[in-house]
Every structure is written in structure tokens, then in C-alpha cells.
């Protein structure tokens, strides 16, 4: 239950501080209109105070556009994200971009649970969008934040999420410049969904596209795969599996900058999220109409990710990451690319995992550790735990 009798004492305590000029002789001294005016002035001062969310849980009022919405925006969002572009709280944020081309992306985040080892939906929502811009070759600059909150969502959780977003934004060097909040009835969401859209700028004439992959190109992954997906599956608790593993959620713009500086000829990058590395390899094969030949032995997978995958009967190649990228570089630049990535903390585990080939266009093949070959197609359905 929100509030508790606590809120009354809170409100009264605050009221005490409502710098009320004491009327010397009590209220009989002044004419009614003057006394009333003093009260009105006191209220005016109280209203201009820093807003504070008193509720412990989000209620429908927080989404109704009235006073509670405004308080939420000012006390929670603006307070955390504060920057000159957001501050006017106008209908749109205005800024200038210096660069011939602008990159625009969006993603909604619906992760459950909202808090998990290594992060929460907030930093995920910032990093994910930063990463989509980064792998497009853009320098991420500005983010929007759209919240869909479920009635009953704890305000303390929201505050935690929002402050993680701000930390992630600071770490990635971006600003959250405009936002939106909607509240839906209990049972019509799962606590909190976040959409972020991002704007970045492309400097120079960089041109990246998975459609540019050419036979002979090397395919590089920036680190061990599947950490995020396995962390989330285990964090749900339904599988009763424990492991010391944390999400890899991280902003990749720094790593991308290092890579691009070292290897200007990079053909394409993708951040491996839903669908995992397997999906990206298939996107490359399809977009460029080339074959992709990867090597199981070369794909970095943590022991715990492998163990959990074996137990659940799923394939780490399809498991989501949130801080790993796949890069396609000309074969001759492979070594330089790996070296550059390993020089960055988020690329310490970078490795060449395969190559682009001419034959079997559209198809991704994997040399198995066993020395055989198999196809790695797009995933059908969800990665479901299986018995057989």
C-alpha cells in the first residue's frame, strides 16, 4: 500500500518548512482579504518548490498528464537526466548536428526481470541504442526515452532505472534530450518498458553495410558471446539454475572508434543482440549474397554460458549479447582489427570467428570443433529449453 500514515507526517514536516511569515497577533488582527492573501502567497511558494514524488508506486495519475505526471517528470526524469536540451521540456528537443549525415535508430526494451546481474533495463536501454548507432559508424549524441509504466510499479525501482540510464548515458557520452511517460493499467505491462531512439552523426564518408561483405573478408566478434541472454534466462529464476555470470551490457562506441581508427576499411558492424551471433552471420550472408564460414572452435563462449546452454538444450550462437559486436573487415585487416579491439577493455576477448566465402551464397556454415560442417540458419521460434 502506498503512503502509509507516513505520508501525512511527511507532508506536515514539509509544511513546517513552508516559510510562512507568522502573523504577529494571530488571525483576528488582519482583515480577511489580507489574511487570505497571505495564505495564497504561502501556497504559491509551496507550489514553486522542488517537486517530489510522494507515492511509493506508480498510479494511473502519473500518466494522466496532470500534476502527478509533471511531478514525476520533474522529480524523477528531469532530475536525473538534466541537460540544457531536455530542460525546457518542450515538445521536442532542438540541437544542431555537425556532420553530413545523421543516423537514427530505435529500440524498445522489455527485458524481464528488470534488474539482473550486471545491469538493468535502464543501462540496457541506453547501451542498446548507443550500440546501434555505433555499429552504424555514427557517433552517438542524443537519445530519447519513452517509458511505459505499469500501474503499481515501485517508484524506487523507477528511480534506480533512471539513474542507471543517466550513468550509462554519461559513460557513453550521450544526452537524453526528450522523453515521454505513459502509465497503463495493472496487468497491461510488466513493470516498465523503455523505448530509446538515438541520433548520431557520421563524420567523414564512412559507409558501412553488411551488404558490402566480400569473399575473403574476415568476421570478428568482440568478445565471449551469450552472457546477456543466459544471465537473463537464469535471472528469471524459473529454471532454478545458478551461475556466476553477468550481462555484458556495455556501450560500444569507444570500441568502435578504436576499430575504425585502426582499420578504416571496415565493411560492416552489427551488435549481436536478440538472435545472437548466428542471426548476424545470416544477415551478412543474405544481404551480401555470400557464404559465411565460421569456426566453432574460434567462437569465444564462457564455460558457464556453455554449461547452461547444454543443460537447457540451446545453442549459444543464438543467445543474445548486449555488449558484443560482429565486424566484417577485409581479410588482410583482420589482424589489425583484432589487435585494435583487444586494446580496448570491451574488446579484450576479440577473435576472428570466420570468413566470407563465395560459395553457398546466403548460407552460413560452421566448421564444428569436431571437424565436421553444419548449417547455422536463422532461429525458428524462441530458444526453448528442450528435453530432446
Amino acid at each position: 500500500m502506498t503512503a502509509g500514515s507516513g505520508w501525512i507526517s511527511d507532508a506536515l514536516r514539509e509544511h513546517e518548512h513552508a516559510d510562512r511569515p507568522e502573523v504577529p497577533g494571530g488571525r483576528t488582527e488582519l482583515p480577511v482579504t489580507d489574511r487570505e492573501q497571505q495564505v495564497l502567497d504561502r501556497i504559491d511558494r509551496a507550489r514553486r518548490r522542488r517537486p517530489r514524488v510522494r507515492e511509493e508506486r506508480i498510479t494511473m495519475s502519473h500518466g494522466a498528464g496532470g500534476k502527478a505526471t509533471q511531478t514525476l517528470i520533474e522529480a524523477v526524469f528531469l532530475d536525473a537526466f538534466r541537460n540544457p536540451l531536455l530542460e525546457p521540456l518542450e515538445d521536442a528537443a532542438l540541437f544542431s548536428v555537425a556532420g553530413p549525415r545523421v543516423a537514427l535508430t530505435t529500440d524498445s526494451y522489455v527485458v524481464s526481470p528488470l534488474f539482473f546481474p550486471g545491469g538493468n533495463i535502464g543501462d540496457l536501454a541506453v547501451n542498446g541504442t548507443v550500440n546501434d548507432l555505433s555499429v552504424s559508424g555514427a557517433t552517438p549524441l542524443y537519445l530519447t526515452a519513452g517509458f511505459i509504466l505499469e500501474e503499481g510499479f515501485p517508484v524506487a525501482d523507477l528511480t534506480r532505472v533512471v539513474s542507471s540510464m543517466q550513468e550509462a548515458a554519461v559513460a557513453a557520452g550521450v544526452s537524453i534530450v526528450t522523453g515521454d511517460t505513459k502509465v497503463v493499467q495493472r496487468g497491461k505491462a510488466d513493470g516498465c518498458y523503455i523505448n530509446t531512439a538515438g541520433v548520431g552523426v557520421l563524420l567523414g564518408d564512412i559507409s558501412l553495410s553488411v551488404a558490402c561483405a566480400q569473399p575473403g573478408d574476415a568476421i570478428i566478434v568482440s568478445g565471449p558471446i551469450g552472457d546477456h541472454g543466459i544471465t537473463i534466462m537464469l535471472a528469471r529464476g524459473e529454471l532454478d539454475i545458478e551461475a556466476d555470470i553477468i550481462s555484458d551490457t556495455a556501450p560500444l562506441n569507444g570500441l568502435v572508434a578504436s576499430l575504425l581508427a585502426a582499420v578504416p576499411g571496415v565493411r560492416a558492424m552489427r551488435d549481436a543482440t536478440r538472435g545472437g551471433v548466428a542471426t548476424i552471420l545470416n544477415e551478412i550472408a543474405k544481404a551480401a549474397d555470400v557464404g559465411v564460414l565460421a569456426s566453432e572452435d574460434d567462437i569465444p563462449v564462457r564455460d558457464e554460458v556453455r554449461g547452461a546452454s547444454e543443460l537447457l538444450g540451446i545453442d549459444p550462437m543464438y543467445v543474445a549479447c548486449e555488449g558484443r559486436l560482429v565486424a566484417v573487415v577485409p581479410g588482410e585487416s583482420a589482424e589489425a582489427a583484432v589487435r585494435a579491439m583487444r586494446g580496448h577493455p570491451l574488446g579484450a576477448g576479440a577473435a576472428v570467428i570466420g570468413e566470407v566465402v563465395a560459395d553457398q551464397p546466403g548460407i552460413v556454415r560452421l566448421k564444428t570443433a569436431f571437424g565436421g560442417t553444419r548449417i547455422v540458419d536463422l532461429l525458428v521460434g524462441d530458444p526453448l529449453p528442450r528435453i530432446c
Binding site: M1, G4, S5, L12, H15, L40, I43, E55, R57, A68
Partner: protein, 381 residues
């Protein structure tokens, strides 16, 4: 809108205002209580006080159904609602009324199944759709609303619905008026009688006021001209040294009320020996409970209800406001600790509550307003 717009005409208001002003005896102050929160709402919503001479003061009475619910009853309702089998249904007004640990709205956010209804009949719909749940209707209101609850109970009985019950908090206005008349610290010159309650109870029940207390009563409609005319009628009685019950709202209120409605109430409900009113304390025979014959629809009997008495927060001066002893803004916490967002007292919740009406609509300097109005091109006063 017919029967609405014609009673909002500014020209006629000026005429009435002039008549009222003309009736003011020099040096005399006039204090009238509008018993009904609906009137309070109209007064502030339309800025009616702008038409009244300084000598005439309106005192806001206890006739706001939500404002008089004591905290203990809210807690009892919350206790009922928190039972897993219970779906609580409530009018929108009730949703923000603070109990000792938050409002229905807060409880709903925390997962309690509380649903807003427009009509008590909607609760029956919910009961039919959820045969394995118990639907409890949070019945509040004066005689205006009690007949609807009664009709809903009769309908449920006729249908044989076994999962519908009523948490009955209906109150009756006459004992509250009497309590106010008997309170030593208040001097009133007359009453603006509650129009909608009177559609049910008629005008006769007010006669004791005129007869025994010598105060005029005018049963009034809810448009601003209705109220202005009622004030004029009160002033006229005073100037003629009369004290009678008059019916300004005769287009809607029959002198004898609505017999069908009274019968329905009498069939399903009976007077409680006493009931607690927020701010006014316990008043005997001031509320209704479900009759024995309908015990199966009485949530108080179906479920155990703690029934603890919760003292109002110390800072709360609703009692004084409800009795008209204090103006809303004279309450110490008005507008700082107690606001519509964080109501400490219930008078700050409903748009009919005196504090809420004043805060939402009236919170401005009338002198300066008058100047601005005169200057402003957008106004047309």
C-alpha cells in the same frame, strides 16, 4: 444544454446581484450555509462569489458524500477489498479518499482489485461476469444516491445474484443539519437547501429548521442562477422577517419527494443507531445500514470488518470546515501540506469538498481578479 445554459446567463446574474445588494441592510452581515457540496462546487466553478456583496458570506456545509466518510470506514473498505475473493467497486470520487494507509487508488496500484463504476448497476454486471468472486459495492452518498443502491439490491435479489453485496455508508442529511444548528460556535442566517437530496426526501423534512430554529431554508438547484436566486429568496425572507421552507428548484424537486425512491430505501435499509461523520463525530440515526432481510447482501455481515476507529490526523481541521466554522483556507495545512494531490482531509478530495473546490477553482485574489476582469479583453463580466 436545456435546463442548464439558461440558468448560467450573466445578464440575469447581474440583475439578481443588484437585487441581493439592494436587500442588504446597512451594517448587517449575512451568513448562509449551502448544505450541499454540489452547491459549493457550482459556486467556485462559476465564480459565483464575484456577484455577491461583501456583506453576504457563503458557508460550506457538510453535504459532500465523500468528505464525511471517516477514516475508519475507508480502512474497513480497504480491508474488505484486500480479500482475494473480493472485487471492490467504487465511484470515481471515492478513489482518492485517504484512509490511514493510502487511498483506493494506491491500493489498486498495489494490486488490490478495485474497479471504478459509473452506476451501482455496473457492479451487478461485474458480479455476473465473475461468478467465482465476491463483488462488494462501496455505497456512499446521501439520500440522492441511496435509492440507486436500493434499486440495485432489489435487482440483484430478483436475479438471485449471490455474489453481490453492499458496504453501506449511506448517510442522511437532516441529522447533520441538526448537529450544525446545535453547535454553539456557529451563527447562520439561513440555509441553501440541497436540491438533489430533496428530489428524494422532498421539502417537508426541513420545516423544523424554519419552525424550531427560525432560519429560512430555500431548496436550490445547481446552476449558478439557481443559487443566486436562492440567496435572493433567503434575503427576501430575512428582510420580511419570515422563516419558511421555499422551493427554488421546483422544476425538479416535488414538495413531497419521490415515494418510489423512499420505499426502495425503506425496503432494503434501515437507520443505524449512530454513525461517525468525519469532523462531526458520532451522530445518532444519521446513516443507513442493510436490513436483516437483505443480510446476504450486507458486506459488513458477510465478511468480518475490523471496524476500528481511526482518529483524524491532528493537523486536520475538516470538522471545523464542514461545520462552516473555518473557511477552507483558514485550515493551517491548507494548500501546503493538504492539497488535492496529497489530501490530508477528505474535504480536499471531492470536487464537492469545500477545500478542494476552493483550491481548484477559487484560489486567487478576488480584488485583483476583479481589476483584471475589468481590464481584460477576453473576459466579459
Amino acid at each position: 444544454m436545456r435546463f442548464v445554459d439558461e440558468f448560467r446567463d450573466a445578464d440575469k446574474a447581474h440583475a439578481l446581484a443588484a437585487k441581493i445588494a439592494a436587500l442588504c441592510e446597512p451594517g448587517r452581515e449575512y451568513k448562509f450555509m449551502e448544505v450541499c457540496g454540489g452547491h459549493t462546487h457550482t459556486i467556485y466553478k462559476h465564480g459565483l462569489e464575484d456577484y455577491l456583496p461583501e456583506a453576504v458570506t457563503l458557508v460550506h456545509g457538510p453535504g459532500c458524500p465523500v468528505c464525511v466518510i471517516p477514516m475508519g470506514r475507508v480502512d474497513d473498505a480497504m480491508h474488505l477489498a484486500s480479500r482475494p475473493e473480493v472485487i471492490m467497486t467504487s465511484f470515481g470520487d471515492m478513489m482518492r479518499v485517504p484512509g490511514s494507509s493510502g487511498s483506493f487508488f494506491d491500493a489498486k496500484a498495489a494490486g488490490t482489485d478495485i474497479r471504478m463504476v459509473y452506476s451501482p448497476l455496473d457492479s451487478l454486471k461485474i458480479a455476473r461476469q465473475n461468478p467465482d468472486r465476491q463483488v462488494v459495492f462501496m455505497a456512499i452518498g446521501f439520500e440522492t444516491t441511496a435509492p440507486s443502491t436500493a434499486m440495485t439490491m432489489l435487482r440483484a435479489a430478483a436475479e438471485g445474484l449471490s455474489n453481490f453485496s453492499v458496504f453501506c455508508n449511506h448517510v442522511t442529511i437532516i441529522p447533520a443539519i441538526k448537529a450544525i444548528l446545535d453547535s454553539p460556535d456557529l451563527r447562520l442566517d439561513g440555509f441553501i437547501g440541497p436540491g438533489h437530496v430533496s428530489t428524494v426526501i422532498g421539502c417537508r423534512p426541513y420545516e423544523f429548521i424554519a419552525r424550531d430554529y427560525g432560519k429560512p431554508v430555500v431548496v436550490a438547484g445547481f446552476e449558478p442562477l439557481d443559487i443566486l436566486q436562492s440567496i435572493y429568496m433567503l434575503m427576501l425572507q430575512l428582510s420580511q422577517r419570515r422563516s419558511e421552507v421555499e422551493n427554488q428548484y421546483s422544476r425538479v424537486v416535488p414538495w413531497d419527494g419521490n415515494l418510489v425512491a423512499l420505499r426502495a430505501i425503506g425496503q432494503t435499509m434501515e437507520l443505524r443507531p449512530y454513525f461517525e461523520w468525519r469532523g462531526l463525530g458520532f451522530i445518532s440515526h444519521s446513516a443507513l445500514r442493510v436490513r436483516d432481510e437483505y443480510a446476504a447482501m450486507d458486506a459488513e455481515r458477510l465478511f468480518s470488518v475490523p471496524g476500528v476507529r481511526v482518529a483524524d490526523p491532528k493537523a486536520c481541521q475538516c470538522g471545523e470546515v464542514l461545520k462552516g466554522v473555518l473557511k477552507p483556507w483558514e485550515c493551517k495545512v491548507f494548500g501546503t501540506a493538504c492539497t488535492p494531490e496529497t489530501p490530508i482531509g477528505t474535504c480536499m478530495v471531492s470536487p464537492e469538498g469545500a477545500c478542494a473546490a476552493y483550491y481548484n477553482y477559487g484560489r486567487m485574489n478576488r480584488t485583483r481578479v476583479a481589476e483584471a476582469s475589468a481590464a481584460g479583453s477576453a473576459g466579459r463580466a
